[in-house]
Amino acid sequence: MGNHKGNQQTRDVATSKDSRSPWPQSSRRFDGNEDEGLSFGATDEIAGYLENPPGVNPAEEHPEIPQINCIEDEVERCRALLLALRGIARMLVTPSQSPRDLSRSTCTILIESQCYRCAWICLFDPSGRPEVAAFSNGQGMSSDFNETDPGEPFPCNRSLFADPNAETTPAAVSVCGKCPVAHRADGLGTVGIRLEYEGHVHGILSVSIPIESVSDEEKELLLEIARGVGFALHHLAREQDHHRLVQERTRWEQHTAALDAIAETIRRLADPKDALGAILDTIRKTLAVKHAIISVRDRKKVDAPVLEIRRELTPEEAEAISAIELDGRRGAVAEPILLPLDPNPDSPEILPPPIRKDLVTTKKIRSLVLLPLEARGETTGRMCLLIRADHTLAPDETRFLTMTGKMVGLAFEKASLQEIAAHAEKMEELDRLRTGLMASISHELRTPLTSIKGIASTLVQSDVKWDAETQRDFLKTLDQESDKLTRIVSDLLQMSQLEAGIMRLEKTHTTLSAITAQLKDQLKHLVDGHRFEMDIPPDLPEIYVDEVRMGEVIINLISNAAAYSDKGTRIALKARRDGNEMVVSVSDEGIGIPKEHIGKIFSRFYRLESGAVRRRGGTGLGLAISKGIVEQHGGRIWVESEVGRGSTFSFTVPIAG
């Protein structure tokens, strides 16, 4: 409190004043009054000096009644003000109010304690922008004054805020003519006081007051209130700053951790679908968003997304969100775009009405945050977070989203680069395989060609005359070698069909016995000289296969068995059921297959080194083709073998139905 003048005098006056007394009346009017222990000084002391403002001695200089009334009025106001000050002081120590509530309470106390008919506080935001945040009501505000949206601060408040050298004593500010107080005509004016602390202005307190009669004491009291409120506002701002900093720091830590996790996800996961799913979940968790989607589109095929990851969204919602046109809404690269889901039916539709309605009412979504995803300078997809009505994104969260958008873009880039690298590697591998295959094919074709060329050129030689029998023998060999060439060519064709996946299977419901019955003559020829045993139980279930191709597999295996085993040894064809499969096996007592060859014998042109197969007319493709046919039927083929003891080739066929 500022004024300590005239102690002695005050005491005297107070004593005299008590006896004639508007004070008891006043004190009865206010509840806050009862607490005599409050620290604003002894009532009598302040009341005394209020009654005797410096330089004014009402008793001596203004003895007239009106003068006394006026003084009494001032005293009354000061007393009310003092009580208000106590109420405000008590209110200020109440913890955790918002600046707005604090301002409102201050004004309310000022009005209710009947100091002033009208009081309001205009708050400014901490950066100093004149942001009008709170007004208190009071009787006498002009009718067009809207408390919830006061608009621009009044010129008086703005100038008080802007000028740090302005008098801190209450200044008459009603001169602008835009004062919201309606009753200037009643002889009242407006006084503005800065609510400041350590040179920082938080707002302006304005009261409606009979300006002519304001005493210095009243000014002092108003200043005291302003200081208290200013300090409280300052404290609140500091507290809020601190709170915001703590929150921001916590979020910053969460964001950093999330970005780390995303980077790790991108580094570790090769599959784009897994990676994007993990990234989306990290973002959802970090920003506490439930509904989200990432959709990726191919530049060439715009109609359907190549990849879509949605969380807590129906396919229809996902589709509608993916279809939102971004052109014209785009900001900078990878900048999130906020699309409010306006319940106003006149706003432009960004989603089909039923979907929008469902999102707004059922899922309580208020806005969409769309983030274009870019890779190598092109938009390849988008991420969309659906923000609920009770949730907002802070600026740092938006920045976090921007970062993640860029990282997802990088992930795409990495994925596409990996794809390119994998493709190149595959092509290289294919090229190597093709070269190897060409060499094998050319070698296989050369063998019968050598015989054909050799025999033909033999017959052309005119220096010798061949007898008819030799000539016939040569021609017969020519014929056989041509057949062999044909067989190799058709095997190659079959092989390439199998590899290209274009071999057509003409499947029918049949039995293994039916197939072997059709092969009877061929089998008899193949196993000629061997002991052939066939064990196919008659009660085996039906199979659904291409009879001709299955027959080829059996012929291939039996001709191999015959080629690699001595005459007189046993060759057995067996079949049995094993769960949902039928297992067919061909066993021989031949030379067997050394371990190092077992992994390779199903490859093209892979032969155990022996002329035996050639004598049998093998093309080196039999096992590779058999494997292809079996696998195309959904089965497996394998071999068990022991060198010198023989081999057993087995394959499975799924049972029909």
Partner: protein
């Protein structure tokens, strides 16, 4: 077989006083062995055959041929190894007869001591010409290099 004079339109060098030169034909393809042998026999050569590398080395030891026609890709012991081993104790002319057409293989075999290299498929006249050329060169140049007697 009977020895008949060259009377065709294809130029087959004539070898006078063709003694029964012995030729070892090594190939795992029986058809090739058959028609090559027939052609050589009909022109007065003595022919022995082997269907793999080991049989070739055995025949070499037993029969002392004047020339070897050697396939490369064979079971048990391949032509490369056969050539290498023969060169350790003999300078008998070796004509490689193979489906491998690569220049590098040809160079490898020639540097290992093979005398000629014919790629399959081949014209029988070509083979006969080379056989005769090598035998003629050997007989005119003497047999100083031979050490297999």
């Amino acid at each position: 077989m009977n020895e008949s004079p060259a009377n065709g339109d294809r130029p087959v060098p004539k070898v006078k006083k063709m003694s029964k030169e012995r030729i070892l034909v090594v190939d795992d393809d029986p058809v090739i062995v058959k028609f090559v042998s027939a052609n050589l026999k009909v022109r007065g050569f003595d022919v022995i055959t082997a269907e793999d590398g080991e049989a070739a080395l055995a025949a070499m030891e037993k029969s002392n041929p004047s020339i070897i026609l050697l396939d490369l890709l064979m079971p048990r012991l391949d032509g490369f190894e056969v050539c290498r081993r023969i060169r350790q104790f003999s300078t008998v002319p070796i004509i490689v007869l193979t489906a491998i057409g690569e220049a590098s293989t040809k160079f490898e075999l020639l540097s290992m001591g093979a005398d000629d290299y014919i790629t399959k498929p081949f014209d029988i006249a070509d083979l006969l010409t080379r056989v005769r050329a090598i035998l003629q060169a050997r007989s005119s140049g003497g047999c100083s290099a031979r050490s297999d007697s």
